[in-house]
Symmetry: C2
Subunit: 392 residues, 2 copies
């Protein structure tokens, strides 16, 4: 096992109508002037935004609002948010939405709390020395950003998508009401379930050793997500299933499922980032479309983990060679993706890439990881290209 740090200070308030606690939580964490940051119109249309602003009005907490955070949130809006916070003397951020609004708010928080260009952090030039305190009302279970230290921002110029991680960015509180996720389109729900699973699986498929307890928690989490994702295909209004998925989303990316391992593989995410950059596909669907090709390319180099995954997570019988068991596990997960209407290749994802596109994505991916990355198997540019080709 590897030494690790575990730090999840976010106070979670979970359950029906949890959002009614928001004003009290802002006070508890010292907020006196709030920027409410959200994404598209859904939080407006659903009435959630009005309920939140009403509750802040009642509590006498002044606020300004900034909407417009989009999937793959943009740097331009982050600059706007920083400017607005400075002008209005905002001392607390409230993100209302999913990963886009939360990540955008984190970037605004870094920008306000530090001098200079906030993009420096995402450009690996320097480290943040603080962040404006941030609270979250979560409306989409997927990225786990509500408890995580990470955020991903896209710079419009050249569509450069970069992540930055810092404990300063971990939200002070996260309000999670599973009912708020019930109005999501089925496709987005399934994308979220895939993203949640992949956050744990990226940590699970390694060659670097780990901890038994972390594996046990990871396997339990994955089984729970699969079971409840299928329930939501049949009944999107199932409150308990929504709750299971929502809580799994936070636990999958707050660090718990990586304690004691080598940091994980993360190559499915890296490959998908390039897909997302070129085609703007939904992140979870992109992950599902890539994973099988990645898994078949690397499983021989990480056979004990793929074998264990097949048996403990996918319920494959312990019969045949390790390779056969591992392959059955990969097939079983692809079957699951199909059952929740996720793509298992680029064609099903709706991406018709040219040879040149594939080469460009592999090249950008290799550059993005400084040449090579991966713990299940170390992948170089030629490997990345082979996986993209296999995923056609």
């Amino acid at each position: 096992m590897h030494p690790f740090n575990y730090y999840t200070p976010t106070k979670v308030i979970f359950g029906r109508n949890a959002e009614e606690k928001t004003a009290g939580l802002i006070r508890e964490f010292g907020g006196k002037k709030v920027l409410i940051h959200y994404g598209g119109g859904s939080v407006v249309r659903s009435g959630l935004l009005k309920r939140v602003t009403d509750s802040l009005d009642t509590a006498g907490i002044p606020y300004v609002t900034l909407g417009g955070a989009v999937p793959n949130p943009r740097l331009g809006l982050v600059y706007q948010g920083i400017e607005l916070c400075r002008r209005e003397n905002v001392d607390f951020l409230l993100a209302v939405g999913g990963g886009s609004a939360i990540d955008s708010a984190k970037a605004i928080g870094y920008g306000v709390a530090n001098e200079g260009d906030v993009w420096d952090f995402y450009d690996y030039k320097r480290k943040a020395e603080g962040c404006l305190p941030l609270g979250v009302i979560l409306t989409i279970a997927a990225t786990g950003s509500e408890m995580s230290d990470s955020s991903v921002i896209t710079k419009e110029e050249g569509l450069v998508k970069r992540g930055y991680s810092s404990d300063y960015g971990r939200p002070r509180f996260a309000v999670m009401d599973p009912e708020l996720t019930m109005t999501l389109p089925d496709y987005q729900t399934a994308c979220g379930c895939t993203d949640i699973m992949m956050h744990t699986m990226e940590r699970y498929f390694t060659n670097g050793g780990g901890m038994e307890i972390t594996d046990a928690l990871a396997e339990g989490l994955l089984c729970t997500v699969m079971k409840n994702a299928e329930i939501l295909v049949r009944d999107p209004k199932d409150y308990d299933a929504r709750a299971e998925i929502m809580w799994a989303g936070s636990l999958s990316h707050n660090g718990l499922t990586g304690c004691g391992n080598d940091g994980g593989d993360w190559m499915t995410h890296k490959l998908e980032h390039e897909l997302g950059g070129l085609y703007d596909v939904a992140h979870g669907a992109g992950l599902a479309a890539i994973w099988g090709s990645w898994a078949r390319y690397v499983y021989r180099d990480c056979l004990p983990r793929f074998r264990r995954f097949a048996i403990n997570v996918m319920g494959v019988e312990e019969a045949g060679t390790d390779e056969e068991i591992a392959l059955k596990g990969i097939e079983a997960l692809e079957d699951f993706f199909r059952r929740i209407h996720m793509p298992t290749n680029l064609r099903e994802l709706g991406v018709h890439a040219t040879k040149e596109d594939l080469a460009l994505m592999a090249h950008k991916c290799a550059v993005g990881v400084n040449g090579a990355k991966g713990s299940a198997r170390l992948l170089k540019e030629e490997d990345m290209l082979a996986i993209f080709r296999a995923s056609m």
Copy 2:
């Protein structure tokens, strides 16, 4: 499922020589003058205390020390600690040890940060409005106090043992080096493993409903603890097994294994508290000695949970009636207790209670829970007495 709050702000630094980070962590959390609080001589004899004070000397952080925290830590020492902190202008507490030192430090922290008698909090008279910040260097994996909100203090007069829980008392950081637990006597290691399991099992055996993901995490944790507890019987110096147990101890009592359930049963703990009060037995051993009798008394009223426990945790085959499966699970856990040399009744615990003792314990227990308590089955004084009798 039930609504829940989840709040585990403790920063965990886990791995070999993690204690070397202590001075930096105290600075990070703003400590300028430290009270180092510890228990018996083992942290002195092992050289750990000297390494800690040396590192604080090197870092230029002033401190005072207070040893003497005993199992079932005493109120008198808490008063001494409060007095010492006030006299020396201490603004940060560092507990070096296991649950006794940590719980005692929490109580000192409440006493310093609040006016009036600190026992008021343990006497349910009022609530703390703060606590001196506290860090921990953990040397025993058992109580989970290093991440929990709870502490248990015993008032010498009448040997009144009471718990108080508050988020203010959650440690700011916990330094966990599994090597520090290697010198523990085998009996104490096994007691710790039992305590860890019981923190999860008290939350698991309920009739109030819960969450699938919480069950899955709980079952994974229990299986991991059992496997590694047996490894430590054979090889107490196994670093990885020490690490698994140590991390399980924190996760078992920081709230994770209770998310979405009804709060749990906790009657095995309540019954053991009375045993501990009258005979000063080791807490973990007392729990093991009581559990089987409790389980056989209540399992019919909580059959689905006992059946699930038998199959998913104890590996019992799904054959026979639910009652038969449940009973096999209870027997299997008692067999496990015997394999790690834990008692499964009062005789094996070394307690030879008179009829009058049993009646007194049952009565005190009933008074302590205001008449009745328990989710697996609601227990009144007569039930408590029956369980004590069955455990002879």
